[in-house]
């Protein structure tokens, strides 16, 4: 594999998870989660702390990153999101509230980085996580493992949402909260579970992305427009769309920068962020509601047989 491709795959898998996290939460609670930025960074620092202090491979700390991300999600839900959802706050208010949470988390991350620097004499402000990786088929192992994990998570989510009772109840709440409440589904628990899943996905996504890029405390803050770009490209209508959108955005960034720098020279590298944003802007101009505005997606959805926001089904849970 050429280096741009392996890095691109790693990065795109991470971006796919974060974009999926944003989409899931948006469908479930109408909340555009800004805090994904810091949750991703927290996921990276969880893995980094494990590897730097206790040794081993980054992969063995991924479950821990999932857990920490889920906890940050739960705190945000109980402290902030639930009172606002009960008050039926506007979409912009929900978005601003997660921004506030994100900034608080960012300050905690910065303090934690200071703490690691001074107490353990580490250098947590510029981390190259790929140094801790091992080699597989003459390439970085992450390039094979991470896309597989991402696809695995997607499949687990799919099974959870379509085959388990709670998953079906969750979809019912997302489709029509009032009706679901009337049939006895505890919407409060559904929101909580969406925050847990999306928090975990965001943190894991950040841990993935750090395997391809330099890990810094502001890593999430700099990449959040791209995470949103992925979610918006996916149309914010289905988790699968979000994950696919994030993957496309991540891969085109690396591929596009590689191809353009071959053609025009290395100066293109500075504008790498422009490529995915251009794709997002172009998509939005043609389809103001994202890729799910394309009928093709509806066809795919019906083929896949029941995704979020897909066909309606009588639910009693």
């Amino acid at each position: 594999m050429p280096p741009w491709m392996s890095s691109g795959l790693i990065y795109a898998s991470g971006l796919a998870l974060t974009a999926g996290s944003i989409t899931l939460l948006y469908i479930a609670t109408r909340t555009f989660n800004f805090a994904v930025a810091s949750m991703a960074t927290i996921g990276f620092y969880t893995v980094y702390t494990g590897v730097a202090l206790y040794g081993g491979l980054p992969y063995q700390y991924f479950p821990l990153a999932l857990l920490v991300g889920a906890i940050t999600g739960v705190i945000c839900y109980y402290g902030l999101n639930r009172p606002l959802l009960r008050r039926q706050a506007a979409e912009i208010t929900l978005m601003m509230s997660t921004l506030g949470y994100d900034l608080v988390l960012l300050s905690l991350i910065q303090m934690y980085a200071d703490f690691l620097t001074n107490t353990y004499k580490l250098f947590p402000r510029r981390v190259t996580m790929s140094l801790y990786d091992f080699e597989l088929f003459g390439d970085r192992a992450a390039a094979f493992i991470l896309p597989v994990i991402a696809i695995g998570i997607l499949m687990i989510l799919h099974i959870f949402l379509t085959k388990t009772k709670f998953g079906v109840a969750m979809r019912a709440t997302i489709e029509n909260p009032v009706l679901a409440g009337a049939s006895g589904i505890n919407s409060d628990r559904v929101y909580l579970v969406s925050w847990i899943i999306s928090g975990g996905m965001a943190a894991l996504g950040g841990a993935f992305m750090a395997m391809a890029m330099t890990g810094t405390p502001v890593m999430g803050m700099y990449t959040i427009p791209l995470m949103f770009a992925g979610a918006i490209l996916g149309g914010l209508g289905s988790i699968y769309g979000g994950i696919l959108g994030g993957f496309v955005i991540g891969l085109t960034e690396y591929a596009g920068v590689f191809l353009l720098s071959q053609k025009f020279g290395a100066w293109v590298l500075g504008y790498r962020m422009g490529i995915p944003l251009f794709i997002m802007a172009a998509t939005l101009l043609i389809f103001p509601r994202g890729l799910s505005g394309i009928p093709l997606f509806k066809i795919l959805k019906s083929l896949a047989g029941g995704s979020l926001g897909g066909e309606k089904r009588g639910v009693s849970a």
């Binding site: 009172p83 506030g100 300050s107 427009p225 500075g270 422009g274 997002m280 939005l284 101009l285 103001p288």
Partner: protein, 389 residues
């Protein structure tokens, strides 16, 4: 009703109002800072208040009065800052037959050029004043242009989509400035010629009233604007887009007007900011400083009230400064653990946003909802009619 009674009533309103109480708190805090820190702290707070109240008032026009989720305020600020960093100095260099092309922004040339321009500016107050006005005009024009360009794709989008797109545009502009050397030097900051150089050591003492004058002019302009038919259109769009379009309002046009006027004002704020700091560093034009802080100022003060915005900027700027000044006294326990207390600025910003949303949804000085005709005047008209019949 006598005019005297009317004024007395108004005066009582002001005394009992939240705005007055907040001003008192601000005054006490300022006095405290003055006696413990001295004049220079007060001056720097006042300059920041002037600059950021301009930026936040422009945000208030777009987000508060028109209901546009403007998460890309930094884009217009960047337009103003880059324009002032790139254009007026080049014009001066052109007339002084110094290099004014791409090499103007290169770090080795710029360091030598700007002091020469400053020397010329310091020689004539007329030239300095003209230079300042030129900076403002250029910044405003650049901001209006960028605002218009952003409004083209933006008007088709709704709510969160719009907010995220504008946020992305702002970030992208920052990276363009950081990488394209010929605008403002790329990763090396470019110096801005200083129209206040003529005052020497008293520079800051003059900047404060000058910037406040500009801020007050903009304040008056905006207050007249929102009471004009155009301003009523803005609020109509905010309150109910559907009914606004049903009433024959061209939504695209109104939104564009709001975005262009707002961007123009924000760019003037950005231009003044770089004149005050004396240099433009592209990487410093972050969305944290120029989008999220203004949002916090606006939300704390009041969405849709310029007086509230002004007080919000004042209060938060003072709190930010206090964290910086008293970091070792108040937060020594953090420093003992090797943690820089400056990060508490982010905590403050996040906490203010959260607290305002949870407990003060309308801000400290909420917008007064005024009916087209006040109730007492309606009663008066009715009683007059009855008297006639």
């Amino acid at each position: 009703m006598s005019t005297h009674g009317h004024f007395a009533e108004k005066f009582k309103d002001i005394l009992l109002g939240r705005a007055f109480h907040m001003s008192l708190i601000i005054f006490v805090l300022l006095a405290f800072l003055y006696f413990s820190g001295g004049t220079s702290i007060i001056l720097s707070i006042l300059i920041q208040v002037a600059v950021f109240s301009i930026i936040t008032m422009s945000l208030n026009l777009e987000a508060g009065y028109t209901g546009i989720p403007q998460f890309g305020r930094v884009a217009a600020v960047i337009a103003g800052a880059f324009a002032v960093g790139a254009i007026p100095g080049r014009i001066m260099a052109f007339f002084m037959s110094l290099p004014y092309g791409a090499e103007y922004a290169s770090d080795t040339v710029n360091v030598k050029l700007v002091p020469q321009i400053n020397a010329v500016l310091a020689g004539s107050w007329l030239l300095s004043l003209g230079f300042l006005l030129m900076c403002i005009v250029i910044a405003g024009a650049a901001g209006a242009l960028v605002g218009w360009l952003i409004s083209r794709p933006a008007i088709r989008l709704k709510e969160a989509y719009l907010g995220i797109s504008m946020l992305a545009i702002g970030d992208f502009l920052m990276w363009v400035g950081h990488n394209w050397n010929i605008i403002v030097g790329g990763s090396v900051p470019v110096y801005v010629p200083d129209p206040f150089r003529i005052f020497g050591a008293a520079r800051f003492n003059v900047i404060v009233p000058a910037f406040f004058l500009i801020a007050i002019i903009i304040f008056i302009y905006l207050n007249r604007l929102v009471k004009s038919p155009l301003g009523r259109n803005f609020r109509m769009l905010r309150d109910n887009e559907l009914s606004a379009s049903a009433a024959g309002l061209d939504i695209v046009k109104v939104r564009t007007q709001s975005l262009v006027i707002g961007a123009c004002i924000a760019a003037i704020g950005g231009g003044l900011y770089v004149i005050y700091t004396g240099s433009v560093a592209a990487i410093g034009m972050t969305r944290l400083t120029f989008t999220f802080w203004p949002w916090a100022y606006m939300m704390l003060g009041a969405i849709g009230s310029n007086v509230g915005v002004f007080l919000g900027v004042f209060l938060l700027t003072i709190l930010r400064t206090m964290i910086i000044i008293y970091r070792s006294q108040w937060f020594g326990f953090l420093q003992a653990a090797g943690i820089d207390p400056l990060w508490l600025e982010y905590t403050l910003l996040g906490a203010v946003i959260i607290i305002v949303i949870l407990f003060l949804p309308y801000g400290l000085v909420p917008e007064k909802v005024r009916p087209m005709l006040p109730a007492n005047r309606v009663k008066k008209v009715i009683s007059q009619k009855q008297m006639q019949t």
